[in-house]
């Protein structure tokens, strides 16, 4: 990557100070690790710097960052052989007992990973972020009926596998 000019540096700094904390929170939520979340935040911002000239001026940078950070974290989770259960973090901070965490891990790794990235995004925005369907429509640009269809497919698949997202999250 080329060194940034002073003008670009100011622009990136402005974006960093506005958006980085939200990206970091998101990465920490998905990766469950402070160090990995910081690395991921930096990687996502490097992607933003590269993509900035191509991002439509009318497009929401925040939507772009939500989508990119979600996909980046999933890419990292797929590469990891396994997730560690950190008893202190997961029981005290998240209130998740180990058996639920293990089930969540199964969902993330073996259940969500093979799905189409658009469906995965809808699932993450719904169950991890708690966004409503109209909000997800704004973020992703999908129609609400498409979002409902993705969620219905996901819930059906969950039910067939004996998993209940409602019990877990």
């Amino acid at each position: 990557m080329k060194a940034l000019s002073k003008e670009n540096e100011l622009e990136i700094r402005s974006l960093y100070e506005r958006y980085a904390s939200l990206v970091h929170s998101r990465c920490r939520m998905l990766l469950k690790s402070e160090d990995e979340a910081w690395d991921a935040t930096q990687e996502v911002f490097m992607k933003l710097i590269s993509a900035l000239p191509k991002i439509n001026k009318k497009e929401s940078i925040y939507s772009w960052l939500l989508s990119t950070s979600t996909n980046h974290c999933f890419s990292l989770l797929r590469k990891k052989k396994h997730l560690e259960f950190d008893e202190e973090y997961h029981t005290e901070s998240r209130g998740l007992p180990q058996e639920k965490w293990m089930a969540l891990k199964e969902i993330v790794h073996h259940f969500l990973s093979p799905w189409d990235s658009k469906i995965r995004e809808v699932v993450i925005y719904t169950y991890f972020d708690g966004y409503r369907q109209e909000e997800i429509a704004k973020i992703t640009g999908m129609g609400e009926s498409t979002i409902r269809r993705h969620l219905t497919r996901f819930k059906r698949k969950c039910a067939e596998s004996g998993l209940s997202m409602g019990d877990l999250l």
């Binding site: 402005s14 100070e17 910081w38 935040t41 930096q42 001026k57 929401s60 925040y62 409503r132």
Partner: protein
Amino acid sequence: MKNCTSNRFDIERYFVGELDKDSAQAVEKHLETCESCFTYLQNLRRKRNEFLADHPFSSFYAEKAQKKTPFWQKYLSPAFARPVLVPVVCLLLIIAAIPVVNTIAFNSGRETVMFKGGALISFIYERDGKSQKGSLSEVFRAGDRIQIIYNSPRDWYVALLSIDQSGTISFYHPDQKSITCSVPSGKGNDLYFPGSIILDNSSGGELVVAVFSHSPLKTSDVKESVSAIAKKHSSLSDIEAAISKFSFSKGSQTATLLLRKE
């Protein structure tokens, strides 16, 4: 948030400053009555402050954005770039760089205001999604977002306000319920004031005032003083001259930017 009918995504976009004026006003109106959304916004602000304290831009910039191959490795022949010669090359580069640095320092396009004590303010502005260096010769328009940047040689408090042609005074403070208008300035160069000024469609210019002080200033006191000055003068340039001489508290220092508007 769960029981609130408001759009959480909109609050997050309000937080990062992505909403247009009408949508932002709708969110602000909602925040006045919805405690859960207000708390959610405050949490976002608190997390941002904590995050930036732990991971300032400089740490990201140093680790990632500024990584590059040293140019002496790139351009000088490997035979010349022996470790023993590196100090010599560095010294030659420093000597060669002095006139260049001086030229940049004195001819920079960024408008700055220096005041007694060494503090310095400048600004960048965002128009149509693009950030540009601020210049006082620029004519600004409604919707332009002004981001104030300052150098602070010591840990002061800084307050930011603006006065338009009609004498309306606006304060910029991250916490709208705060009774003070100052925030800790931090110490260093190129520090960003937390929050930015979005110009409205009022006619005439906009006088931006940054007040550095040893202790936080009460909003009501500053407003009273500025109102009294504004009443005595008809033009913004006269108000600017009067405010520049005014002492808001013992040892306070004031920097101003007079922006022209369409």
